[in-house]
Point group: C2
DNA sequence: TTTGGTAATTACCTTATGGTAATAATTTAT
DNA sequence: ATAAATTATTACCATAAGGTAATTACCAAA
């Protein structure tokens, strides 16, 4: 089936952001409201960000918008037709 | 622990959008690349949208932005400090 | 160099999201 | 009214995200 619809993190961008703002993974994790293990795994590509991660980032970092930090495959799912 | 960090769907908004565009749950599901059961459960508040759902919407409905369809609690997680 | 502290990584488990497929409800033709 | 589509709902299961807590790596001070 359609295997291409997940959200990814632009790890390089996020890593740079953390560095520039002198934030450790632990600090960042606390700020966005997830465990530091979650942040670590996402940064290392072992997990994709879930809705909790995404919400935490958008909620607490108003200087970051979705497209800056996140990405997704741009393939269309099977039956997609343009709307309206 | 911090139980407040998930993403919700503005079901009324989404329902109206589907109605206005004459899209059934099945059609919408196909367009965003998830099962129709997923759409149904999200619309009925029985599930929150996961990253797949969110990605599907943002990807395929460029006329919708994140804040229009989704929301999240605006409480700050425990150790949150404003950055820079 | 060892002690203490911070940061990063990972094994193990829990839980929530997503798919399948069957069922129910609703609508449209005939 | 009833058969045939279409649409919506849900039980059941698979899997991926998230938490806990232990372990490892790193680094500074004495």
């Amino acid at each position: 089936m359609n295997k291409s619809a997940d959200i990814f993190v632009r790890t390089k961008v996020l890593r740079k952001y953390l560095k520039d703002n002198r934030l450790s993974e632990v600090q960042f994790a606390e700020m966005i409201g997830v465990a530091h293990s979650t942040v670590n795994r996402v940064l290392n590509g072992k997990r994709n960000p879930g809705s909790k991660f995404i919400a935490g980032v958008l909620k607490n970092f108003s200087d970051l918008n979705f497209e800056q930090i996140f990405s997704y495959n741009n393939e269309l799912p099977k039956g997609k037709k343009e709307v309206s």
